[in-house]
Amino acid sequence: MSISHLLFWILSVTALFSALMVVTSRNPVYSVIWLIVTFFAISGHYILLNAQFLAVVNIIVYAGAIMVLFLFVIMLMNLNKETEPARHKWLQFAGAVSGGALLLVLVSALKNTELKSQQSLLVEGHIGLIKTLGQELFSTYVIPFELSSILFLSAMVGAVLIGKKD
């Protein structure tokens, strides 16, 4: 097995394990930490697929900004393990079963598609490069790009307004 395949497996296991830890941690701060680890693993996957721009953006935006925001809010509310409310046991079980059922259904539905032996190219490929993405973004998709800036503006205004103390 080549290095890239090996890396794929390591990163996959890391991602799954840390995702599970996110869901099952008692302390919310731990959940945040584990989610950051997950994001790093996924960024690793992106690099493996030579989607360089996305890998970096993932780290900067998700792990860097969004998770920090989460941490700020958690710290603000002073949440820790003792104040964590416990869920009704039966509902937890039902939730787990439903999620598992979803997993099973999707896997069994999609495992025999005609695409299953198609390969996705690792390591090589120029479409993940910043140059290519930039060219496409500012030529074909420039309008969505501008609109997304308006989206940000409205989100910012909304967040500020909601958070005002009046």
Partner: protein, 633 residues
């Protein structure tokens, strides 16, 4: 078609119109008007029947179809009248005797209120209409309409004074027992329709005579149909075991007893069997059953009548007994003799009932003969006509009863000598109890109260005239059917009915016949003299031993009560108290309760907890994906 046949539909229609007028206008009409309307309608029907009769005598007969009563694929039943000799004879009896009884009632019922009086005559007219429909019907279905109608009118008239609960119970009993017979009748009609494809008399009888013995209409079919029809007849004509309603039916007004329970309705069974003689001639087993049932009924009723103290009850049991004779005649194949006896019995029994009505009227409502006596002096006409009626029923020549009863006895002798012996014994009992009744009521010293004695008076002429006319008919009515042994060619009745009923042919010599006739007459005279000796001098002793059984009607009412009525009442109580509230109410209420419960449970879906909502969302999505990918390929 003959002119009178064209107007034949008026014969039942006029009484129906009378019913409507009297029934709807009972709050507006005076007694005189309603009485005249009712009697007049029957009189017109009688005149039309006379016209029909004269044309039938010249040999005409017809089946007239008016309209389709039932018309479906494979079955067509028209509303039709069949007018032939048998029909016209019955028409005369029904309308003639009916008219006399209507006239009698105008005086007998004059104590009633105006509305009640009109109601009575409305019911009476409705009864005449139904009876006419019965005898004129051209197929079993129309006959059944009349059959049901007379049952209904019997119920209405027995319970005429409906404020008295005992009378209404008697009316219920009559109707319910009739119903049992009706069920059997209906089954027979259905069987006939299935097998022969029609209910019309002509078609059914020709089918039966063509196909008897073949798989199309086997002997089992014949036996079953004839038996079922006979069971229907036992209900209507009060034979064993469905006879107990008739004595109770005496709760109705006396003219009703005369018309319905002596002269007409109870003879419907005999008419029906006589009409179906083609069928019955092919069913020897049923015929022997009929004859034995008739004989047993006759004997049983005669023994009970020996020890009854209500004047009407004696006559009621006498009717049952005479009907038994008629069935005995039918069972011996002597349809003609049975119809003959129907006619003569109508005359003298109506006479006897109306006479008893006159006595009751004179006694101010008293019906117990132990309180009567010595009435012959005060009620001359009533006494004379009653005596004539008793002589007729006993069978003294040359009154009508002698000829008809003798025709029956002769046929029975040829058929089965044992039955003949029992029948003769029963005839002697008949004479005995009738004269017992006559003597206790009219002779000796008066045993009632002073007030009743004071009140005694002869009935008005309106009531006496029908008595006189009926007594004349009782004397002369038998002269149309004189047996060949006495006078050759005098059997005009037999000749008249020959297209429909087989004539009586006797396989015995003339000498033997005369000897039998003479010996029975002699015995009857002896019995009458014995009754005179026993009853004219002393009062009757208390009943002991077997006489006690007779007095208590052989305890048959009590038997029926215990075997049938009480279990049914228990079953009904069980259903009422257990099944109805727990099962049926439980089921219905349970549906309501389960809906409420489901609603209460479903309410929890809307808990407001967004966690639950999300769970449901995921579950739904899983289900949708599952269905999409795995079930809907």
């Amino acid at each position: 078609m003959q002119a009178s046949f064209k107007l034949a539909f008026l014969i039942p229609l006029l009484p129906l119109i009378g019913f409507l007028i009297n029934g709807l206008g009972r709050n507006f009409l005076s007694k005189g008007v309603s009485g005249i309307i009712a009697s007049g309608m029957v009189l017109f029907s009688f005149l039309l029947s006379l016209q029909v009769f004269s044309e039938v005598r010249e040999g005409a007969s017809a089946v007239i179809n008016y309209f389709d009563f039932i018309r479906i694929q494979g079955l067509q039943i028209p509303f039709s009248f069949q007018i032939d000799a048998l029909t016209s004879l019955f028409l005369l009896v029904i309308t003639g005797v009916g008219f006399l009884i209507h006239v009698y009632s105008t005086s007998y019922m004059h104590d009633e209120s105006d509305a009640s009086f009109a109601r009575y005559f409305a019911y009476l007219n409705l009864f005449v209409f139904s009876m006419l429909l019965l005898v004129m019907g051209g197929n079993y279905v129309i006959l059944f309409i009349g059959w049901e109608g007379v049952g209904l009118c019997s119920y209405l008239l027995i319970g005429f004074w409906f404020k008295n609960p005992a009378y209404t119970k008697a009316a219920n009993k009559a109707f319910i027992m009739n119903r049992i017979g009706d069920l059997a009748f209906l089954l027979a009609v259905f069987w006939l329709i299935i097998k022969t494809g029609s209910a019309n008399f002509g078609e059914v009888f020709s089918f039966i005579s063509d196909n008897q013995g073949t798989p199309k209409f086997t002997s089992t079919d014949i036996t079953i149909v004839s038996l079922l029809l006979f069971v229907g007849a036992t209900g209507k004509s009060a034979q064993l075991p469905l006879y107990t309603w008739l004595p109770d039916a005496m709760a109705g007004p006396t003219p009703v007893s005369a018309l319905i329970h002596a002269a007409t309705m109870v003879t419907a069974g005999i008419y029906m069997i006589a009409r179906s003689n083609v069928l019955y001639s092919l069913a020897p087993l049923t015929l022997s059953i009929i004859s034995w049932v008739g004989l047993a009924t006759a004997l049983l009723a005669a023994t009970i009548a020996l020890r009854q103290y209500d004047i009407k009850k004696v006559l009621a049991y006498s009717t049952v007994s005479q009907l038994g004779f008629m069935f005995l005649a039918l069972g011996s194949g002597a349809y003609l003799a049975a119809v003959f006896h129907v006619m003569t019995h109508a005359f003298f029994k109506a006479l006897l009932f109306l006479g008893s009505g006159s006595v009751i009227h004179a006694m101010g409502g008293e019906q117990d003969i132990r309180k009567m006596g010595g009435l012959a002096g005060k009620l001359k006409v009533t006494h004379a006509t009653f005596l004539i009626g008793c002589l007729a029923i006993a069978g003294i020549p040359p009154l009508s009863g002698f000829f008809s009863k003798d025709a029956i006895l002769l046929s029975v002798f040829v058929h089965n000598p044992i039955q003949y012996g029992i029948a003769v014994f029963t005839a002697l009992l008949t004479a005995f109890y009738m004269f017992r009744l006559l003597i206790i009521t009219f002779y000796g010293s008066f045993r009632g109260t002073q007030e009743q004695l004071h009140h005694l008076h002869e009935s008005p002429w309106v009531m006496l005239l029908p008595l006189v006319l009926l007594s004349l008919l009782s004397i002369a009515g038998g002269w149309i059917g004189i047996s060949a042994v006495l006078t050759e060619g005098a059997d005009s009745l037999g000749q008249f009915l020959s297209p429909i009923l087989p004539t009586l042919s006797h396989a015995i010599s003339h000498e033997k016949e005369l000897m039998l006739m003479g010996s029975t007459t002699l015995l009857v005279v002896v019995v009458i003299i014995a009754a005179w000796l026993i009853y004219s001098k002393r009062t009757e002793q208390q009943s002991t031993g077997i006489l006690r059984v007779f007095e208590n009607k052989w305890y048959i009412d009590e038997l029926y009560d215990n075997i049938i009525v009480k279990p049914l009442a228990r079953l009904s109580a069980f259903l009422r108290e257990w099944v109805e509230p727990r099962l049926i109410d439980g089921l219905v209420n349970g549906v309501g309760r389960s809906v409420q419960y489901t609603g209460r449970q479903l309410r929890f879906l809307q808990s407001g907890q967004i966690g639950n909502y999300v769970l449901l969302m995921v579950v739904a999505m899983v289900v949708v994906l599952f269905v999409q990918f795995f079930i809907r390929k």
